[in-house]
């Protein structure tokens, strides 16, 4: 019994962790390139989820599979991400990290309250996305959509890793944070790379929304802030700015949450935040992060 409980927890934790990891990926990519915590990133998931809520019935009516709605969600999220970047973040980029952080915070509050004004504060239920059966192995029940979520998450992370390491665009994305002026000299359009990073990060948030909605089919206007916070912790835990770090951190946070929930339901958030504090104090750059010295 105990073993099956453990395996069940492991699978649920991986499911949760895969979602966090995908969101954390967005945080990490943006932080890696402009050194800014994009607080609004969590709210991009909310936007993705609302898009899914409205487009899934359309897709089903048109006779297409429900998950195709994610394509529209990715486009919408990427557009919103780019808009936020151009309208709010770009003008304050030179003003220092304090201004950037506050602008990001303001954008998060803005998107959340805009959603409340547009869609109301009532939660909406998203139609089922994957109609997959639940398989039982021994005393462990394995919903196949959970396995699918984990698989999608892994696939996207491997894809991102490949994109950033091997393609020209990915190399440009790594070059910009190292030295902006030198990147400009070798012909990289820095502004365009930053915008592209936002587009990719926000698009990933839409995929995360799909995965989240297939497990918990509820959309509210403040769903993003809590999840964004956890994912952000995941990104910092793994080492912000490092893609494998986001995966590791996400899965770690997911597992911690599910297992602490099993034993002390009221305390899981405290344990997550506590882990973050301990990691930051011991190794401020995160588990996989590189420690960069500071110039005087």
């Amino acid at each position: 019994m105990a073993a099956s409980l453990f395996v069940q927890g492991l699978i649920n934790g991986l499911n949760q962790g895969a979602i966090y990891a995908l969101i954390a990926l967005g945080y990490t990519m943006v932080y890696g390139i402009i050194r800014m915590i994009n607080f609004a990133h969590g709210d991009f998931i909310m936007i993705g989820a609302y898009t899914l809520f409205y487009t899934i019935p359309l897709m089903v009516n048109a006779g297409m599979p429900a998950w195709m709605a994610v394509i529209i969600a990715i486009v919408v999220c990427a557009l919103v991400g780019v808009l936020v970047e151009i309208l709010a973040y770009k003008p304050v980029r030179k003003a220092g990290s304090m201004s950037a952080l506050i602008t990001a915070l303001a954008m998060s509050i803005f998107l959340e309250n805009l959603a409340m004004v547009l869609f109301g504060a009532k939660p909406h239920n998203v139609q089922a996305i994957f109609q997959l059966p639940t398989v039982r192995v021994g005393s462990v029940s394995l919903p196949l959509n959970v396995l699918l979520t984990i698989a999608i998450g892994l696939l996207i992370m491997l894809g991102m890793q490949f994109f950033v390491k091997k393609t020209n665009l990915g190399k440009a994305m790594r070059a910009v944070p190292q030295d902006k002026d030198a990147s400009t000299l070798v012909g990289i359009n820095v502004d365009r790379i930053i915008t592209l990073t936002f587009a990719i990060g926000s698009g990933l948030a839409a995929v995360a929304a799909l995965m989240y909605c297939s497990t918990y089919p509820r959309v509210t206007n403040d769903m993003g802030s809590m999840m964004g916070m956890k994912a952000f912790i995941a990104a910092v835990l793994g080492g912000i700015g490092v893609i494998p770090g986001a995966m590791l951190g996400g899965i770690l946070v997911g597992l911690i949450e599910i297992f602490v929930k099993l034993f002390a339901p009221g305390w899981y958030e405290a344990v997550t935040y506590g882990t973050l504090i301990v990691i930051l104090l011991v190794k401020p750059s995160g588990i996989l992060g590189k420690n960069l010295g500071e110039k005087v």
């Binding site: 050194r35 915590i37 709010a88 003008p91 304050v92 003003a95 220092g96 990290s97 304090m98 201004s99 952080l101 506050i102 602008t103 915070l105 303001a106 954008m107 509050i109 803005f110 959340e112 309250n113 805009l114 409340m116 004004v117 802030s225 916070m229 952000f232 912790i233 910092v236 009221g266 305390w267 958030e269 405290a270 935040y273 506590g274 973050l276 504090i277 930051l280 104090l281 401020p284 005087v296």
Partner: protein, 329 residues
């Protein structure tokens, strides 16, 4: 103490008393009719918000470090004071005495928490410090949700000790102390740390000590603000003090002006009166907040008041000088 300084202290005291006299005169004359209690309530809200925002400004504006967890200290103060006043009820203390003891208890508890959080957290800087303060505030919130003594989900039946006059005078005392603190040698030191912490530590300043002390002082006043809050609301749930509340306090600091206590006082007072005045637009309140915040960041990154401090003596000087110029001409 020079004669000039003494005169300016006196002038300011007279000014503050005048404001209080006008407000309480309006209340007792019944100008607002049936809504007198309601408006008095709004003014009390403004008073404790001013304390919280001004105390946050010590860390954000004068020390130049981010805190996204100020609500955590507010909640520590609120709960500690509520517990103390609950224990001391019926022990023969007069209401005012009980109120002051509760305030002090709330402030001290929050101050101690500030030291405990500050010592590990202030080793970090910038973004990372912001995250850690947020994490600590969330941990505090979760603890209050789970402890039996704080009533688990809701804590109710707290004595209603915060009246408008008490809140007003506590606010005046707190803001004065903070103002003196900022003007003191200590205040200059933390501003030096803000400008360049490496240069400051090279000139013999114990950066960590000053940072932790500032953090603790800020937490102390936040706790006092929280105590007034608790004894005004008489019931509270830990989720009142979530990340959104911290973010709201921070945005009030930023809009008012980082590094300007005047900005915090006017900003906090204005922003706590405004939503009440526009009840019908309550849904749009936070939307408007965020737009204002972005606009302030775009056009006035230092906040509306920047580093500018209001000074009654300077104002009077200006007025009298202008009049004398007129007379001369």
């Amino acid at each position: 103490m020079g004669k000039k300084i003494r005169i300016s202290y006196l002038l300011n005291a007279v000014g503050v008393t005048l404001i209080f006299a006008v407000l309480s005169g309006l209340f007792s004359a019944g100008v607002f009719g049936t809504s007198t209690t309601y408006i008095q309530g709004i003014c009390t809200t403004a008073c404790y918000t001013i304390i919280m925002v001004a105390s946050l400004n010590l860390v954000v504006g004068f020390m130049g470090e981010f805190s996204l967890g100020h609500a955590g200290f507010v909640s520590v103060g609120a709960y500690a004071s509520a517990i103390v006043s609950g224990l001391l009820t019926g022990k023969g203390l007069p209401d005012l005495g009980l109120f002051l003891v509760a305030l002090l208890a709330g402030g001290l508890a929050a101050g101690v928490m500030g030291v405990l959080v500050g010592i590990p957290a202030l080793r970090l800087r910038g973004d990372y410090l912001a995250i850690v303060t947020m994490a600590f505030a969330e941990i505090i919130r979760v603890c209050f949700c789970n402890f039996a003594i704080t009533g688990g989900k809701t804590m109710s039946g707290i004595l209603k000790l915060s009246t408008f006059p008490r809140a007003f005078w506590v606010m005046v005392v707190c803001v004065s102390i903070m103002f003196l603190f900022v003007r003191s040698k200590f205040g200059r030191t933390i501003r030096a740390i803000r400008e360049d912490y490496i240069a400051a530590s090279a000139s013999g300043i114990n950066v960590t000590f000053y940072k932790v002390m500032t953090f603790a002082i800020s937490a102390f006043f936040a706790g006092i603000g929280g105590s007034i809050y608790a004894h005004y609301m008489t019931a509270m749930i830990p989720t009142n003090f979530n990340f959104a509340y911290s973010a709201e306090l921070l945005s009030e600091v930023i809009i008012g002006g980082t590094g300007s206590l005047t900005g915090s006082v006017i900003g906090a007072a204005f922003l706590s009166v405004l939503p009440e005045a526009m009840r019908d637009f309550a849904t749009y309140r936070m939307l408007a907040y965020s737009v204002v915040l972005v606009l302030v960041m775009l056009f006035r990154p230092g906040g509306i008041f920047g580093h500018w401090e209001f000074s009654l003596t300077h104002l009077l000087d200006k007025i009298t000088r202008r009049e004398s110029v007129k007379e001369g001409a």
